[in-house]
Amino acid sequence: MLSRDYTLRAKEQFIKEQLSYNDKLINVRFIYILVLTIAAISSSIVDQTISPTPFLIIGVVAFAVNVALWFSFRQFRKNTNEFVTFLMVLQILTDVILASFVIYSQGGDQSRATILYALPLLSSAVLFNRALVFLAAFTSVIGYVVSVLLEHSSNYDGDLDVLPLIFYPISFVIISVVVYFLAKSRSSDIASDAYKEVLAMLTHQLRHPLTATLAVADTLKNEKNISKKRLLELVDMIEKINYDGFNLVNNLLEGASDDHHRHLQKINAVEFTKDIASLCTYTYKREGDLNFTDSKSQLFIKVNPQQLRTAILNVIDNAFKYSDHGEPVYVYVTGTSEDVSISVTNASPEGAAEKLTKVISALDDAERPGFESEGTGVGIAIAAKIVKDMNGNIEVSQEDGAVTVKIILKRLNV
């Protein structure tokens, strides 16, 4: 879980960094394309050309592509890293094509427009990817060489000057190497920051039980004339704190473990879930609040019991933790010919289901690492990870002020 959370956090930081650089680049590109378009229009007017020149057409097309990319970045900025990278690659290729066309239309090897390749070469740094940085260099070299050769073959005006064909491609490669090393240095800074942040989040979680224990000790030392009732209340707190601490350690161990394909056992989901639910009611001293219903038949599944125990415990524990004494918690174990479902329902405020769904979906995208969410975060995120690793599914729904978390696993037909 730690390495997974670190990967997600690093990914999230990379996207944030890419978008931040790209926001600046987009403005530069916008001005650049605007200048080119104005130059094209001026050139058409000076030449007294009535029909649009190819230069004008490409300027307008590039301008439209630029606006479309600008819009896409803003519209889809919460999309995946892959999509952001795709848009950036598209942007770089557009710049290379545009620069090559300008070279072709402005005299080939005689053109001073070679400087235009600086934009795709430098902006490739934002991709933080060696292959893509060198891809930008490679396409720039190909674009330059092809446009010079094409221009020379279509407007033959003497011998081809070979020197620019060697000098500029080498310059492009040198710029890319420099860009790559600068990007590499920045990317290791980002990765290091992401690692530190995840460690800080983990430390924060581990400090909870310690902080609570210290606070209880402080209360015991400083409170005068402690009544027996108050003493029992504090002892209950210590029990609860220790339970939370053990749960957290178990969660971290189970989350980090890859044991779901090993130690598989055939278990009856009904009895198994009932035992775990009873443990939770005892811990929360809420024996009267549990409503357990089952399908009155034996529902067998084949799983790693230790891991499933952690998953079910987290879901039921979450329901008891976030409901008050006297509020019922419903646990149902039902089955179809294919599946076994373990559902836990408790009264919850509006929006609780969305919050839980967000925690679970954080496993599938880089939106938010699990450790960032307090309370509900770690337990449900670990439960979802375990269930998904078992090729099962976890669903959250809300109806009439109650949230249901459902674990669905494949039924073993015996």
């Binding site: 989040m201 430390t203 609570a212 402080d218 400083n222 969410s373």
Partner: protein, 117 residues
């Protein structure tokens, strides 16, 4: 008596700190940044004790919103999250102090809050 708004989502921590701080302050407790902003719209407080990692609106988001409010309450972060960049950002958003819970048990925090008067 001066008033404290404690923004904390862990019930045991809420209770232990509230019990002690209530000896010298009136203490209201809310579980997240959104509830804290709602409470500030209704009441005036002298201190806000703020955890940083919270559901709904977290500590940093709360601080950014709090700056827009017309409130004179001193914001003191009380958290176990001490990632240096978060501490820096919180300070730049105007918090009076950034305290770690693990180093500030209820009685120690009570004395500190009295010293801010």
């Amino acid at each position: 008596m001066k008033k404290i708004l404690m923004v904390e989502d862990i019930p045991i921590i809420q209770k232990l700190y509230k019990d002690k701080l209530s000896e010298a302050f009136v203490v209201d407790v809310v579980p997240n940044g959104k509830a804290a902003l709602d409470a500030l719209a209704e009441e005036e407080y002298d201190f806000i004790l703020l955890d940083m990692l919270l559901p709904e609106i977290n500590g940093e988001e709360f601080l950014a919103e709090y700056q827009k409010l017309d409130s004179n309450a001193k914001v003191i972060v009380l958290s176990d999250f001490d990632y240096p960049q978060t501490v820096e950002r919180a300070k730049s958003l105007g918090v009076t102090d950034y305290l770690l819970k693990v180093e500030n048990e209820p009685s120690k925090l009570l004395e500190k809050l009295k010293s801010y008067d």
